[in-house]
């Protein structure tokens, strides 16, 4: 019985380890999935907008301005976008979503307990090997193997929970920076570029006296509708991005939160009951063998 008390102590120690907050993780994974889909679609639209912008720049000779070459809006960096050594800005956005996706997948694997069964299987096989090597027959050997497997499984879960906590703490600020310093400001640039292209098309209609005024108004209305749709889409995307930031923030708080006593107590009791069942099976087998 003393041995079982010792095992219970181990179980309680394991139980005290942090658990993976499944609810917060699901909210984060869902928000990333939705925002990524929208982000990839909008990146494709940005790509086509910038191609159109460069095509227009290349085909139209600029009209003389009072200070040719000097722009009233200096660019953040000198970048003509044509240098082969420069990374393609759109591709880097897609890479960022891939990196966030890969990170999120790994979190999902940890939360799903991938590897726990593998470790339990290894522990069981090692026990078998030990018994085979000794050449002895151990009464209740199967029950002991189960006790070992339960404990090793809980150890692995605790290791994964600790790994999960570290992964969240290390990456949450980076993901929040990607969103607040790049993706959200990108939406302003995207809308700004599209607006400048649309405004040019809209105004160009005035220069077409051959187009009937009704048809001209219809074309202008179509441009306005397209811009309204893009505006709604970009605003929706911004909300999704804010949701990702909020959900990873909630995840970070959850891994730091002290465990819920009632929940943890129930979980520990479940583990203890499992270990106790296996231990009793072993004790009974041992007693039967000695009689």
């Amino acid at each position: 019985m003393r041995r079982f008390t010792f095992l219970s102590l181990i179980v309680f120690t394991l139980g005290a380890c942090a658990q993976i907050p499944q609810g917060e993780l699901k909210a984060y994974v869902d928000s990333v999935t939705t925002a990524r889909n929208q982000g990839e679609t909008l990146t494709a639209d940005w790509q086509s907008a910038i191609q159109e912008f460069r095509r227009r720049q290349a085909t139209t000779s600029p009209s003389p301005t009072p200070s040719a070459g000097a722009t009233p809006f200096p660019p953040l960096v000198s970048n003509d976008g044509n240098s082969p050594t420069e990374p393609n800005a759109s591709e880097v956005r897609l890479l960022a979503w891939s990196a966030i996706g890969a990170y999120t997948d790994v979190l999902g694997q940890l939360a799903a307990g991938k590897g726990v069964d593998e470790v339990k299987g290894t522990a069981g096989r090692l026990f078998d090997v030990g018994v085979k090597l000794s050449g002895a027959t151990i009464p209740g050997g199967g029950a002991i193997a189960s006790v070992i497997q339960s404990l090793v499984g809980e150890l692995e879960k605790a290791r994964q929970a600790a790994e999960f906590k570290e992964a969240i703490k290390a990456a949450a600020p980076t993901i929040q920076n990607v969103i607040s310093k790049v993706f959200i400001p990108d939406t302003v640039s995207h809308y700004g570029l599209r607006t400048s292209l649309a405004a040019e098309d809209h105004a160009a209609m005035i220069l077409k006296p051959d187009v009937p005024s009704g048809s001209r108004a219809l074309r202008q209305k179509r441009i306005e509708d397209e811009m309204a749709a893009l505006r709604a889409s970009l605003n929706g995307y911004r909300q999704l991005l804010l949701q990702v930031n909020k959900s990873i923030g909630a995840l970070k708080l959850a891994v730091d939160r002290p465990p819920d006593f009632v929940l943890e107590a129930n979980r520990i009791l479940d583990i203890a009951a499992e270990v106790k069942t296996h231990w009793m099976a072993y004790e009974n087998a041992r007693k039967e063998a000695s009689n």
């Binding site: 009209s63 809006f73 976008g81 800005a89 590897g115 593998e118 290791r159 990108d186 400048s196 105004a203």
Partner: protein, 112 residues
């Protein structure tokens, strides 16, 4: 001082005001001046567009650094316990050694 993320909006608003005035001029101008007014309007729009392109591309370097940071974290996460794999191999070796030992024992010449 406004936040840096508000700057593009402020600049765009200012440029849009200028573009708005040019568009009004264009609409009021006679046919001959319309083209010149349109070209000026278009130039301002192109500058606004170029500003947004530069602004978008200017954030790429920062994003590249953040991707590298995130990949580093992802690569450092150990999903499966590395010890399990090593123990599995050890168990295999131990069983093989046992088999070899048995074979060797049975192959020993019996003392006469």
């Amino acid at each position: 001082m406004p936040e840096i993320t508000d700057r593009p909006t402020q600049i765009t608003e200012l440029a849009n005001q200028a573009a708005g005035h040019l568009k009004s001029l264009m609409e009021a101008a006679d046919e001959a001046d319309k083209v010149a007014a349109f070209e000026s309007y278009r130039d301002v729009l192109r500058l606004i567009g170029a500003y947004h392109v530069a602004s978008y591309e200017g954030r790429t370097a920062l994003l590249t650094g953040l991707i590298a940071e995130l990949n580093e974290v992802t690569e450092s996460i150990t999903v499966t316990n590395p010890v399990a794999g090593q123990l599995e191999q050890l168990a295999g070796i131990a069983l093989r050694a046992r088999g070899l030992f048995k074979e060797e024992k049975t192959a020993l010449p019996t003392p006469s």
